[in-house]
């Protein structure tokens, strides 16, 4: 998928554990793991807002578009 979720990078930068983020924003650990592994189907604006607020970052820090055409 060309959309990459950089949640693990942001978590490492902010030195926050996934479990702590889960408790802070009220989204289950399983769902955050799915998001982190880019296995989710979609992300709600409310989730993105909560993550950005908790990690003090921008949506662009969490999501990245990797154009497959640029590979060639």
């Amino acid at each position: 998928m060309p959309i990459i979720v950089n949640l693990d990078i942001m978590l490492a930068k902010r030195k926050v554990k996934l479990k702590d983020l889960s408790l802070q924003i009220g989204i289950s650990n399983v769902n955050l793991s799915i998001l982190k592994q880019s296995k989710g189907k979609a992300i709600r604006f409310s989730t993105l807002e909560a993550i950005c607020e908790a990690l003090d970052c921008q949506p662009g820090d969490i999501l990245e578009y990797n154009n497959p055409k640029n590979k060639y």
Binding site: I34, K41, A42
Partner: protein, 184 residues
């Protein structure tokens, strides 16, 4: 994301109605034959032994349904007293992640998770007895195979040879709930 490998589902609504009609005819024929034999001949088997055996089996099923040790009793293809629906699905999730996700989805769908073992990947969930249903047992086995995670699903009715597609409907509701829950 998820892919069905093997299932005993009926693909179209039309073929489903045909199957229901055939089963209804078979049940009616068997009922008429038994009733005729009961009235014409004084056979103790039909008057006492058969109803008592069915009642005892029903009570046994109700008592042991929450115990994972009786999984083979409910899921066995030789147990003709319980209607079953089986399906295999492959997922791109890790075994551990899928295990927790399935439990979450089952609980959100109103099933009671009675047993779960992370190491073996076994899950037993049950639905309660209602006015319209004897209840349902869901047995899920999560395995890793060739880098993929396989979910072996078996839904068994507590009592009833034929479930009139109820188990199948619940299965697809569960899958759609799973898909929905991937919007985070």
């Amino acid at each position: 994301m998820i892919k069905e490998i093997k299932s005993n589902h009926i693909s179209t609504k039309y073929s489903r109605y045909i199957k229901h009609a055939i089963v209804l005819i078979i049940i009616a024929v068997i009922s008429v034959v038994i009733a005729k034999v009961m009235f014409d001949y004084n056979i103790i088997f039909f008057k006492i032994i058969l109803p008592v055996t069915i009642l005892l089996l029903f009570l046994f099923s109700i008592i042991v349904r929450r115990n994972i040790r009786f999984k083979s009793f409910f899921t066995s293809k030789y147990n003709i007293l319980t209607g079953k629906f089986r399906s295999n699905y492959e997922f791109e999730f890790s075994k551990e992640l899928l295990f927790y996700k399935i439990i979450e989805v089952l609980q959100e769908s109103g099933f009671n998770v009675r047993h779960s073992d992370k190491n073996t990947g076994d899950i037993l969930a049950t639905s309660g007895l209602t006015w319209t249903s004897w209840g349902e047992n869901i047995y899920i086995d999560i395995k890793e195979q060739d880098g993929l995670t396989i979910m072996e699903f078996c839904s068994s009715s507590i009592f009833g040879i034929y479930t009139w597609g109820k188990n199948e409907d619940n299965y697809y509701k569960l899958l759609s709930k799973f898909e929905e829950s991937l919007t985070i």
